[in-house]
Symmetry: C2
Subunit: 197 residues, 2 copies
DNA sequence: CATTTCACAATCCGATCGTATTGCAAAGGG
DNA sequence: CCCTTTGCAATACGATCGGATTGTGAAATG
């Protein structure tokens, strides 16, 4: 048998080149030749690892979702036994484009958003992702309630929706450049402070 | 002199056909021929009214922004002398994709978002739009404060940011289909209730 | 050492893209 | 009535697209 390469790794390399292109110029600019050039490989290689452009885009979106999940998990596992509201904050901050990696993730997310609206396979993944996030936020809020850190008027389910939407909206503002990371954190902390007793 | 037509009206017709295409298939699918077919006119007519595809896209984005501004204005002018917090609610609801027109607006907005990140002319318009909205929300909140409808812990500027981000996040959820109009209204009202005394 | 199989690279193909060019019908003003 | 100007339609053009096809070097098996 011939050369053995890690196909998953190669696909991921290609997907990340695709991200960089999508970030800079949008998904419209993601052609086979452009991705190949960005990755520094031949067009033939892309065709070897992906049956079509569509499959390549799908894989790139899935890979981005995996990375986001991993980032959230890392952020939550960061502190050993944090006060519950600190966990809520950490979780929400993980959703904001604060560094290079999360900015890439957020941009790729937005780039695929519209496409997802017309692509069942993608929209399912998006919906599942946000459902997972909503559940995680709810869980953290319930912990906070048990720890007595939550004000009386807070409804966990509703507040989780508010927080998820808030993080999404702040992300958009940050990507567009009309909100700095500091302002976003300030706004987030202002809101979180009002959840406490 | 020959036939006289309302050039602005023709451009708007074309822009709205472009929206319909962008909603269904994203901006990638917006080619001259596709827009011409959607509008039921010849490709030559598009070229007559727009110097390039780029200019056509720019005009379509601007036209969408105009419509949003007008919708917000209508919504605010709706009631003669509403209680200030009702004005805040009306304003935020105007940002949500609750009917066909606002859904179109929201979708077009998202479609142009990524493109705006790499297009100075567009990103300027986006930034100005959100600054205007932020100012309008702040003004409403100040009215509410003067009317004594606002709880003590509310900081007008910060809360305006929260509300704008919240509306943006809820819009995304509604577009993706994981939030119904009723759920979004519920979440919004839940949050607004916590702003009152 | 021959052979098979994988991992590409290179080239080709028809379709479609945005744009430029050309032609022409219709509608006032001279 | 002619002439100019506008509002398009039609077509031509080179570039680029996604995808198919073909060619080749390297490695493991027999």
């Amino acid at each position: 048998m011939p050369k053995i390469v890690d196909a998953g790794e190669r696909r991921r390399e290609i997907a990340e080149a695709l991200w960089r292109l999508a970030m800079r110029q949008g998904l419209e600019a993601v052609s086979l030749s452009a991705v190949a050039a960005e990755a520094g490989v031949s067009k033939g290689r892309l065709q070897h690892y992906f049956a079509s452009r569509e499959e390549m885009l799908l894989f790139a979106a899935g890979h981005a979702a995996d990375r986001l999940r991993e980032r959230v998990r890392r952020q939550l596992a960061g502190q050993a036994a944090p006060p519950p509201m600190a966990a809520v904050r950490a979780l929400l901050v993980a959703l904001l484009p604060v560094d290079e990696e999360s900015r890439t993730g957020a941009l790729v997310n937005v780039a695929f958003f519209i496409r997802a609206l017309a692509t069942p396979a993608l929209s399912g993944a998006f919906r599942q992702g946000s459902a997972e996030l909503l559940e995680t936020i709810s869980r953290c809020l319930r912990d906070a309630r048990q720890a007595g850190e939550l004000a009386a008027g807070i409804a966990v389910e509703q507040e989780a929706r508010v927080l998820l939407a808030l993080a999404g909206g702040l992300s958009s503002g940050m990507l567009m450049g009309d909100t700095s990371a500091e302002e976003a954190a300030e706004t987030l902390d202002y809101h979180l402070a009002r959840l406490r007793l």
